[in-house]
């Protein structure tokens, strides 16, 4: 257990299965400097976007860990790091305890890669418009050589389509013949075709209407129960996150500011940013609760504020917050990175 010493407490609660996926000090910086000539002539320096700036989490097998945050907070970058579409600048990713982050672990990555799949946000852009659905869904089966017999592949594709609520006959169609929700079902069928145990879902319902969103969320939950899948779920919608996840991490400017089990986080949000996000949700009950609009917007990640990145918008900011970046501490079942919480001010 010494290796996992700084994994959040929530992951080690007794009775929980051990972590399937872990990230430790995960970082990804992007160099967005102007070209060398401009730097020399205009005297500009290098510019680096710290899209993900040191985050830790662990996802137990069979559970759903969600990352929420506003656009530009780095949540999609985390998704891409986990599935290996980006290489981390620093930090580790472990899958079943095996390190798979970074070029040095490329061989491990290759071994573990077939066990994870990704579902993308835009079902219009993520399906090849010139391929029939059958070919799209069959591709992972053929790539992994799970089945070789053509008839067996066909049967399997039919099964997969049925599993996601389409009919086997839909395999003959092209993506443009489907609505947005049906296309997202095709994406899910394609992801399941490779028989993964871990799915990274990057805003899978953001492009869909609410009634269709409900269908997809219900489908994802059913599949999780049936197949024992583990999800990393990325979303900006707190209500959706509340519905699907067992654990939630709130991201702000590349860092996790608070993470806890879903109930704990929503019942008792501690970080001022989490509170702000929860306050900003429109009130469907119409209890007459006045929404408190928070001043300001997310600052540019190229030049993030020093100290706690949230301090320019935070009502509890003090001098210490402007200088010293807060470290995550355990507070009432949650992990919170906030000086005000640490000092007991809120």
């Amino acid at each position: 257990m010494s290796e996992t010493a700084h994994i959040p407490d929530v992951a080690r609660t007794p009775g929980k299965a051990t972590a399937l996926v872990e990230a430790q000090g995960l970082m990804r910086h992007f160099d967005v400097s102007p070209p060398l000539l401009n730097r020399v002539i205009e005297g500009k320096g290098r510019a680096v976007v710290k899209a993900v700036d040191g985050i830790d989490f662990a996802i137990p097998r069979g559970e759903t860990f969600s990352l929420v945050g506003e656009s530009g907070c780095g949540k999609s970058t985390v998704a891409r790091l986990i599935v290996g579409l980006y290489q981390p600048t620093a930090g580790n990713i472990r899958y079943e305890g095996v390190e798979i982050g970074g070029r040095a672990n490329a061989r491990n990555r290759q071994r573990m890669q077939p066990r994870m799949q990704m579902i993308f946000q835009d079902p219009y852009a993520s399906l090849n418009p010139r391929w029939r659905v059958e070919r799209i869904v069959a591709e992972p089966i053929q790539a992994r050589r799970l089945l070789t017999d053509r008839q067996a592949v066909r049967t399997r594709v039919g099964e997969l389509l049925t599993q996601v609520g389409l009919s086997p006959a839909d395999g003959e169609k092209f993506p443009h013949e489907f609505s947005g929700g049906q296309r997202q079902r095709v994406s899910i069928a394609r992801a399941l075709a490779g028989e993964p145990e871990f799915l990274v879902c990057d805003e899978p319902t953001s492009a869909l209407d609410v009634s269709v969103q409900a269908q997809i969320l219900n489908l994802m939950k059913t599949l999780q129960r049936k197949l024992g899948l583990t999800y990393l779920f990325i979303s900006h919608d707190l209500a959706v996150v509340y519905h699907v996840s067992t654990m939630v991490g709130v991201m702000y400017l590349g860092r996790l500011v608070e993470w806890a089990e879903t109930k704990t986080l929503f019942d008792n949000p501690r970080h001022p940013y989490t509170r702000m996000l929860l306050d900003a949700i429109p009130d469907l009950e119409m209890s007459g609760r006045q929404r408190i609009p928070v001043a300001g917007e997310v600052p540019s990640p190229i030049n993030p504020p020093p100290g706690c990145p949230f301090h320019p918008r935070c009502p509890h900011a003090q001098d210490r917050c402007r200088v010293e970046p807060p470290k995550a501490i355990a507070a009432g079942g949650a992990q919170v990175a906030c000086h005000a919480v640490e000092e007991g001010r809120i």
Partner: protein, 338 residues
């Protein structure tokens, strides 16, 4: 309108009256009807929310009102009255003068509604001078006041910046300033917060609410976000496949939706708090324009469907303060359902 009590008052007062509006797209394979015979009204200073899923025809209704239907789309019938004056058949030039002056518009993506090559000052001043005869200096002063009013800090300097120098939320504030620059009586806001983050959404919604209250501007708020409607609107119209399924005061529709579609729509929205259960789901999807079902367009997806639904098209009926287009609330329909 079946609401007899409101009729006399409305005849004098309704700011916008839409009667039997039909929007159609002629194509080689026949005419597609995007908006099918809908009627509603907006009172001065009132916020009417129009909700529905994509393809329900809500944006088309908005576009028809401001006369910005993209060809080959056209108004195929009905009339639109602004302060008692018919505006759907006006020549282009007359309509152009009404647009901006008497009806303002706010669209979803603030970056595409602003010209990236002009400074905010130039765009605001041009709009102000088009509609109000003000000299350059006075127009600029008014532009700065407008920016201050929508909450842009240090407006005197920011006004000379280009749209790309503003963040997403601030761009939408600038668009609101533009829409309000000639003090229109009606603003058509088509998904004004959809492209924005939740924290910014709250800012824009409260801004829109405040300005409308202060200026007495009426708003037609088109959105698919029930939360935004619940917070902002006075009345709501729920659209489905080009028809109004239900229209009424916001509490009636959101809390006690009568149409099975309203019901399903509300149930499918995830809530925070309480036991986590399966979300209510409406099976199937919104029909395409070339395959709108007969009778009630919602009947193939409806849980309470009965024989009459696939034959007869329901009209709006007045039920407990709201108007619902559903045979369940018709006497004959009720008997059949029982």
């Amino acid at each position: 309108m079946a609401d007899t009590e409101g009729r006399d008052v409305r005849a004098n007062q309704a700011l916008l009256e839409v009667r039997n509006l039909r929007v159609e797209f002629p194509t080689r394979r026949g005419t597609l009807v995007a908006v099918d015979d809908i009627s509603f009204h907006i009172d001065p200073g009132e916020v009417l929310g129009v909700v529905g899923e994509s393809g329900a025809g809500k944006s088309m209704t908005g576009a028809a009102i401001i006369g910005l239907l993209e060809p080959p789309g056209r108004i195929g019938g009905g009339e639109i009255l602004l302060e008692g004056e018919r505006i759907d058949n006006l020549p282009y030039e007359r309509m152009r003068r009404i647009r901006g002056r008497r009806i303002g518009a706010i669209f979803q993506d603030p970056l595409t509604s602003l010209n990236p090559l002009y400074t905010v000052a130039r765009q605001l001043i041009e709009t102000i001078q088009t509609h109000l005869s003000l000299p350059e200096k006075a127009a600029r002063a008014r532009a700065i006041d407008l920016l201050k009013e929508v909450g842009i800090p240090s407006a005197e300097e920011r006004i000379d910046h280009y749209p790309h120098q503003f963040s997403g939320g601030m761009r939408q504030q600038v668009v609101i300033a533009l829409a309000l620059s000639a003090e229109p009586r009606l603003v058509i806001a088509d998904e004004p917060t959809t492209a924005l983050d939740v924290s910014i959404q709250a800012q824009i919604i409260s801004l829109l609410k405040r300005l409308c209250k202060e200026h007495g501007t009426a708003v037609m708020l088109v959105t698919h976000d029930m939360g935004v409607i619940a917070e902002t609107a006075d009345r709501v119209a729920v659209m489905y496949a080009g028809r109004i399924a239900e229209v009424g005061p916001v509490e009636e529709v959101v809390r006690r939706g009568k149409h099975p579609y309203t019901h399903g729509l509300m149930g499918s929205i995830p809530h925070i708090g309480g036991e986590i259960t399966e979300l209510t789901q409406i099976e199937g999807a919104m029909p395409r324009l070339n395959a709108i079902p007969s009778g009630c367009a919602f009947h193939p997806r409806c849980e309470r469907v009965f024989a009459r639904c696939s034959v007869d098209r329901p009209e709006l009926l007045s039920v407990d303060g709201a108007e619902v287009a559903c045979h369940l609330y018709d006497d004959a329909g009720r008997e059949a359902a029982d």
